[in-house]
């Protein structure tokens, strides 16, 4: 209640702040909280179902192509790096860097998705489908929804990039870059988890 007193004496016009960060950032983090619960629904079901049927579960590498996906994981990590570079660039007002790295991020993200599409085609070609038991069901649902998130990310990334090329972000105001960055890194983070528990364990 200290500020109560403060306001009474001096009548300062300062809005109360809960988190000390700007609205868009709060909004994005709050949204990511709900994304966490969405993936909890999918990943949690996977863990539970796998517990129930552990005996029948294929060993890593038996069905899935780990090397390709390992490379793909690396690709996604790179996109996270370029993303963060873009942010670092604009924090120093470096427009060229911003545009370059944003573009790179979008492209690398798209690359990740295409590799995943390739992987799906191979698997389906070898008769591994969502309908092939719990393994197929959980695999395609989890990776599918992650892929969907990346795709959405790429689209937004292109939009932000376009804006960057029109000089939409400045040293003073580049909230948009940071916020989409948060989303992008989150999707990367989810993949780190998925890669481990789906492909390696």
């Amino acid at each position: 209640m200290t500020s109560h007193a403060a306001t009474i004496e001096t009548g300062v016009r300062r809005p109360e702040r809960g988190l000390g960060v700007y609205d868009k950032k709060v909004g994005m983090w709050v949204f990511l909280c709900s994304e966490v619960m969405f993936f909890t629904g999918l990943i949690g079901s996977y863990i539970i179902l796998r517990f129930g049927a552990s005996s029948t579960w294929p060993m890593p590498g038996e069905v899935l192509n780990v090397p390709v996906t390992a490379v793909n994981t690396f690709i996604l990590i790179c996109s996270s790096m370029t993303m963060v570079k873009a942010f670092a660039a604009i924090e120093h007002g470096d427009q060229r860097g911003l545009r370059l790295f944003l573009l790179a991020t979008a492209v690398i993200g798209a690359l990740f998705v295409s590799v995943q599409v390739y992987e799906y085609r191979e698997l389906i070609h070898h008769g591994f489908l969502p309908s092939s038991g719990l393994y197929g069901a959980t695999f395609f649902t989890m990776t599918g929804f992650h892929g969907f998130h990346v795709t959405v990310g790429v689209i937004c990334m292109l939009w932000v990039t376009a804006r960057a090329f029109r000089g939409g972000y400045t040293l003073e105001d580049h909230q948009g870059v940071e916020v989409i960055g948060l989303y992008w890194h989150f999707v990367d983070l989810v993949w780190i988890i998925l890669f481990t528990i789906v492909y390696l364990i």
């Binding site: 960060v21 863990i47 129930g52 390992a70 670092a88 983070l189 481990t196 364990i201």
Partner: protein
């Protein structure tokens, strides 16, 4: 909690060395793949892999998403959903 005088932009942190983080992530990934096929006892493998995954996740969250440089409260917000998430999975696992 609401009397934070912090200005809206919390940008004063020295930018972390992103390339180093990136390198670490790449290396950890390779280690993971290695561990997975080393053929250690199943339980050891699983624990090791989970440990590595969490490590990587933390690197991304703390540096790429620069949680490390955010106000404490925001870090709490970011971590909060893990509580219901864990509750859900753990309690349902009691079915076995």
């Amino acid at each position: 909690m609401n009397e934070t005088e912090t200005p809206l932009e919390v940008g004063e942190h020295r930018a972390p060395r992103y390339m180093a983080i990136w390198g670490a992530l790449a290396v950890l990934t390779m280690i993971e793949v290695g561990v997975a096929f080393l053929g250690m006892p199943r339980s050891v493998t699983i624990l090791a892999l989970l440990g590595l995954a969490i490590w990587k996740a933390l690197l991304v969250a703390l540096y790429f998403m620069h949680l490390r440089f955010e106000p404490k409260l925001l870090r709490v917000v970011a971590a909060a959903p893990l509580i219901p998430a864990i509750i859900l999975v753990v309690l349902v696992l009691f079915e076995y």
